[in-house]
Symmetry: C2
Subunit: 128 residues, 2 copies
């Protein structure tokens, strides 16, 4: 349970904004939450590892502009902070137009210029 | 590409030891590589999020003492370090007695008492 209270609230808000922007298909907000760096990585369930901001941005463009609707009920959210790195583990209970699934997820944030930005997102679908 | 060279080598060695101990079914080494903490988390592909060392230790006991043999060819390993936190992203090309798969993985290490120990492992199977 490291980290200052204000940092924990900032990380919690950023993690919520991540799922909210996905629900809202809001590409601008989604883009603003991420590090636009080479080291950024992203794994959507079933997808290969995406490396670097251009690949990751392209994936969000595909996911958020396909006309679909995705709803998240995020549970068991736990925030840990060590120095300028924070990570959130949670269960994404995902409802799409077509189906539902549970995804075990880790979102890692790095503090830079007073902002906690996503450096890594990885989701692993739980077998039903 | 943050972090001192010696830290990078220590993290690389710990990440290799993680996969080697899995291949060798060496529970003692596997246990020694992890933080034995409440905050530790682990997601095996298809499994739900495991939280805290007792749950994680039990999962490794199950996986490493079932008489099976798992071989890992780890590719695209990238190490990042920010302060006392390191994370390794890689592709696990996994061969078991029964099947093969590719898993996109993230291993996060935290430096404590001069040792980089695994705080989080999460693997997400790539759809073939």
């Amino acid at each position: 349970m490291g980290g200052h209270l204000l940092d924990r609230e900032a990380v919690r808000a950023a993690n919520l904004a991540f799922y909210q922007s996905f629900e809202d298909n809001d590409l601008d907000v989604m883009y603003s939450l991420w590090e636009h760096t080479e080291r950024a990585t992203c794994v959507h369930p079933g997808w290969p590892m995406l490396r670097g901001w251009p690949q990751i941005a392209a994936s969000w463009f595909t996911l958020l502009t396909n006309g679909g609707q995705t709803q998240f009920i995020v549970t068991n959210e736990v925030i840990e902070i060590v120095g300028d790195v924070a990570w959130v583990t949670c269960d994404e209970n995902v409802l799409t137009d077509a189906s539902g699934a549970t995804v075990a997820a880790l979102n890692m944030f790095v503090l830079s210029d007073s902002q906690w930005r996503i450096a890594t997102h990885i989701g692993s679908q739980v077998r039903g």
